[in-house]
């Protein structure tokens, strides 16, 4: 039972350097034996993770390894087996605490909505049925637009922005939901460097404010630089722990199925740049 051996509960692994202030917090998000299947295809098998109340968690793995499925499974958006609980409560009771930034391609870009209206959608669940957005909702929308540097574009139609700007708007929408947990599905892929910086800085700030950030990504450099914890996924959980423990050639080889080249340049905590071929 390889995957059981590698399923590490947070706190059992030696969290000395990066995780020390995180490790004292009670677990917020508990995933037990999460499996995701699309028809006969099993995308993700028996993933168990216990995540702290705040921190920056990177989810890495090759294309089609189930990173998106893990996030969608967490949200209950795909058929899943296993359980997800948030601070001891089931997902249905804790929906408002999770916000989500999906992969870019799933939206109608020619839809006639402005940037401001898109961000306001993050408030809809708080506003409730029938009612109109209040002063507080408008304040939050203005504030989140400011935080992603999109204030001057607030009246633009969403399709008239660059890819990076669109991504920042979706991050702002997730931010406007004001959850404790933010899930991001490849927020840095296909995005200009300014937007990447804005998004990463924002996520760092949120982590420092005590939120839990879970980011699926291909960017191993950003992961090793920013994340407190990394989960390596290849249809199952290959490894989980702080970057210093996870960014090792043998673990990465297992995650990406061989062909891993490590070059000593100085990006990972133990001074390695990892190149996946």
């Amino acid at each position: 039972m390889m995957n059981l051996a590698l399923t590490r509960k947070f706190g059992e692994t030696g969290m000395t350097d990066t995780g020390s202030q995180v490790a004292t917090q009670p677990p917020l998000l508990k995933i037990e034996n999460l499996s995701v299947a699309y028809g006969p295809v099993l995308a993700l098998q028996n993933v168990s993770l216990t995540l702290p109340g705040s921190g920056f968690v990177g989810v890495i793995g090759p294309n089609g390894a189930g990173k998106s499925s893990l996030l969608k499974g967490l949200l209950g958006m795909v058929p899943t087996g296993g359980t997800v609980s948030i601070a001891g409560k089931s997902l249905a009771h804790a929906r408002l605490r999770i916000s989500y930034v999906p992969q870019r391609s799933e939206v109608r870009w020619d839809f006639p909505v402005t940037v401001e209206e898109v961000v306001m959608m993050g408030r809809y669940k708080h506003i409730g049925w029938v009612k109109f957005p209040g002063k507080e909702d408008r304040r939050i929308v203005a504030e989140t637009l400011e935080q992603v540097g999109m204030t001057e574009f607030r009246q633009r139609q969403i399709g008239q922005l660059s890819g990076g700007q669109q991504q920042r708007v979706f991050v702002a929408r997730a931010l406007a939901q004001q959850g404790d947990i933010m899930l991001l599905d490849e927020p840095l892929t296909g995005v200009d460097t300014t937007s990447q910086e804005v998004i990463i800085n924002l996520l760092e700030r949120l982590r420092d404010q005590g939120k839990l950030i879970i980011m699926a990504t291909h960017d191993l450099n950003a992961t090793s630089r920013e994340c407190d914890l990394v989960a390596c996924i290849n249809h199952r959980l290959v490894a989980f722990g702080p970057p210093a423990e996870v960014f090792k050639p043998e673990i990465l080889a297992e995650t990406y199925g061989g062909n891993v080249l490590t070059v000593a340049v100085g990006n990972t905590p133990d001074g390695q740049t990892v190149i996946i071929q």
Binding site: Y100, R108, K125
Partner: protein, 314 residues
């Protein structure tokens, strides 16, 4: 000058005051105005959600229900609404994950249903006349009772959309996120199809099975050409629908043109004008942008400057 305006006014007022057809035309006018309002609002969702083909299928699939109600002498609205509900339910369940194969099955089943309606009707003696009535509506046959039904159902539809405007907008724009945010997307879809079905049913007596789609789609599609704002699309679509209806009524009276078909032709004219003069995607704007770009390019190559980018997406 005063004479001219007097004559114009008389010309405009004549259809509504005419001794012979005045009350029929007044009813037709009000019916078309109400349909313009509901069609403009509901149509905005249809156009933006890309449901035009599905609504087309819906209007055809209602047909056998209408015919059966007619044959057994049941209430028209009841028959139409029951079959519309059944069809809307089926569509809502298959439409979200529509693939090419499901696309063709929608096409096959609903043209089949339409043919079934024609088969049922063809056993009737007055087949030709009643078929025409079903297909193209009978705008001058609108009774005061029809007007009341359309008006009340219309108010209910608009009220329902007002109450759920936020959620309908969110799930129309981004269903995945709406679902992630905890909105009941499937139920909202069913609700929208129900509203579309109700709109189709109350419009049928006046405009008929074939043309009802144009009343729902054309004004909203035209409005999209003139604005980038969701909530502006609706009033613009309503105004375009009303103008088309008015012009259609004069065409019907003075040129002896079939009422609802005239309205559709006029609305289509507005759409074509929109394609030409739309401020953001119209042909004229594009040609002007292209010219500017070409001139810039020419100047740049003469001066040996860098190649400018065409305007458009930022």
């Amino acid at each position: 000058m005063a004479d001219f305006f007097n004559n114009l006014w008389n010309w405009l007022a004549e259809p509504f005051n005419s001794l012979y057809a005045g009350s029929l035309i007044r009813n037709a006018f009000w019916e078309l105005l109400i349909i313009s309002v509901i069609g403009g609002v509901v149509g905005t969702y249809i156009v933006l959600r890309g449901l035009v083909f599905i609504v087309d299928a819906l209007t055809h699939a209602i047909f056998p229900g209408v015919v059966i109600a007619f044959l057994i002498g049941a209430n028209f609205f009841l028959g139409a609404f029951i079959s519309a509900l059944a069809v809307a339910l089926v569509i809502a369940l298959v439409a979200r994950n529509r693939r090419v194969s499901e696309d063709s099955s929608i096409g096959v089943i609903f043209t089949g249903a339409f043919a079934l309606g024609v088969v049922l009707l063809s056993s009737q003696r007055s087949y030709g006349r009643s078929l025409e009535g079903f297909l193209f509506g009978d705008i001058l046959g609108i009774t005061t009772l029809d007007l009341w039904v359309t008006g009340i159902v219309g108010l209910l539809i608009l009220g329902a959309i007002f109450l759920f405007r936020k959620e309908l907008l969110f799930s129309a724009f981004d269903a995945v996120m709406a679902r992630a945010a905890g909105l009941p997307v499937v139920r909202l879809d069913l609700f929208l199809y129900l509203l579309i079905a109700a709109t189709v049913v109350v419009s049928l007596p006046a405009v008929g099975n074939i043309l009802v789609l144009a009343f729902l789609v054309t004004p909203s599609a035209t409005a999209r050409l003139f604005t980038n704002r969701f909530y502006l699309m609706m009033p613009i679509a309503v105004v375009i629908g009303m103008l088309s209806s008015l012009v259609g009524i004069y065409l019907g009276y003075y040129a002896n043109v079939a009422g609802s078909a005239g309205v559709v032709v006029v609305a289509t004219g507005f759409f074509i004008i929109g394609l030409l003069v739309s401020p953001h995607s119209g042909l004229f704007v594009r040609v002007r942008q292209w010219r500017q770009w070409r001139n810039q390019l020419r100047r740049a190559s003469q001066n040996g400057l860098e190649k400018p980018q065409p305007e458009g997406r930022a």
